[in-house]
Symmetry: C2
Subunit: 312 residues, 2 copies
């Protein structure tokens, strides 16, 4: 992979794809191509990039070094293998490969070294799993993790551009909380993903994690209320110091989605002793779900691998 | 107290007061008076009631049997004693008297009999404490309670009419999660209230309860994500059966504020084994915070006492 790789953004007209293009431009990548469904092919995006159709042929042509995929699971399952076959690295945001053995699932600050083990695909975790794993990794390193409970406050942008447009067009009297994920009879697939992905990223395959996921009428920015039981006692003041000094995290007394939107860091605050459990902590986090929760994490995975190369 | 008491609604122009007047009309109370700050005195409300000024003199005149107070804590502290002095029963929605020894804090389905012990004041609990206590009481009776954690999703109407108007006038791009309560350095007073009030209502003064309170951009209807550890094992199916049969509760697979708005019942659903704890349950509830969370509960307290009288 070249130091300034040729990058293709697949799903470029979606909520995450647009942010990926914006971030790549900000970071000085100048050889960037955009791919989308044939419906959008030919249109020009902000920044002048013309959208190409994402097909097995275009993605398998061998003229791109790194693909950032932000499309649905079915589209990833169909298209990613062609891109891998062409020799490109694929960082995939769908859930198609996240739990597949041999596919690294990476939050660079937590397990960036795992990305090196890729065989063409690195999976980008769920938008809630990324900030959660980032916060939990520091607590794991400091005191061990015994049990985690999380209630989410997830914005409309996590459901895509159409959900954002629906919210924008809706009178506030109609605003509701939603649970718009597939339900397996017990929990939402989103809740299962948070548990399984966080276990994989933290390399704690048995960690007890319970999630309740809720969609809130906010446009951008996910928040999470956490209860964390640690193996060793950890004072809230120590947790605050550890988290405040961790890469990718910023301590903020009262994190909110609006404050997190547009930032690269995960905001963490309200760190206190769990009043219901002397061995537990309560915390609150907020994160831009389109940036660190999606596009930024994907780009950081690429940069982590480029950095490894430069350092080699 | 007469079987059809003369009722005064204090704070009649506020979000809760308006709903109280509406509910009283629906339920056939025809001797209802409305009181508010002198600013609103003289104006006519929907239904034709003319607002009177709430002063020590008007509330202490002795011509009302029951006052429903929905004003701020300072106003309750000033005015309630005058109404009590006049011989009226005061059902007070503020937090002024909720934790005062000798003042019953009542959710009629849970501890209605405590209302009989009043000495002029019955306190109406916080809008989150009411549905929480209602759900927890059934679980307490079935299996005992060991520990409770709750993350709230509280609507703008819980912060009053002005907060509702602000939300209505706000573009969705500006929507955020808020934490608009007094902070004591560790937690919000709202979180302390939920713990202390729920302990008092359930008569479990040591029950470990941990709350994280969040304001969401929804107009009406509060929701709560719960994790409940019981003393004895309780299967989710049994919990669902018990809650579905409990007075004031309706089982609903996916409760939301919009579905709960306008209903008298608390909606409870998503009842499942806590995946992080074999002795725990996870649940989700939604409740109309202006009705059962406030005005309806107050009226039910009055009707509970009237029923006692009628049965006596």
């Amino acid at each position: 992979m070249a130091d300034r790789p040729r990058i293709g953004v697949v799903g470029a007209t979606g909520a995450v794809g647009r942010v990926a293009l914006e971030l790549l431009r900000e970071r000085g990548y100048d050889d960037v191509r955009a791919y989308s469904s044939s419906r959008s092919a030919g249109s020009a995006l902000d920044g002048g990039v013309v959208v190409e159709a994402a097909t097995p042929e275009t993605l398998g042509a061998g003229d791109v070094d790194v693909f950032l995929f932000s499309v649905g699971t079915d589209a990833s399952l169909e298209l990613v293998p062609h891109a891998v076959e062409s020799g490109a690295l694929c960082v995939d945001k769908s859930s198609a490969f996240r739990l597949t053995d041999g596919v690294p699932l990476v939050v660079p600050e937590v397990n960036g070294e795992r990305a090196r083990e890729h065989e063409g695909i690195v999976a980008n975790p769920n938008c809630c799993s990324i900030p959660l794993s980032l916060v939990l990794a520091s607590l794991r390193d400091a005191a061990g993790l015994r049990r985690v409970r999380v209630a989410t406050y997830q914005s409309a942008s996590g459901a895509g551009s159409e959900a954002m447009e629906r919210l924008r067009g809706e009178p506030s009297d109609a605003h509701d909380l939603g649970m718009d994920w597939a339900f397996d009879g017990t929990e939402f697939d989103e809740e299962t993903k948070i548990r399984e992905e966080t276990r994989k990223i933290l390399e704690l395959p048995e960690l007890p994690i319970s999630a309740t996921c809720v969609r809130v009428p906010v446009l951008v920015g996910h928040a999470e209320a956490l209860w964390v039981e640690t193996e060793e006692p950890l004072a809230p003041e120590a947790a605050e110091r550890i988290l405040g000094g961790a890469s990718g995290i910023r301590h903020e007394p009262f994190p909110t989605p609006l404050a997190a939107a547009g930032l690269d860091e995960v905001l963490v605050g309200r760190i206190r002793r769990d009043p219901a459990d002397a061995s537990g902590l309560a915390l609150f986090l907020a994160c831009d779900n389109l940036r660190k929760g999606a596009a930024l994490n994907a780009i950081q995975i690429v940069e982590h691998l480029l950095g490894d190369r430069a350092a080699a």
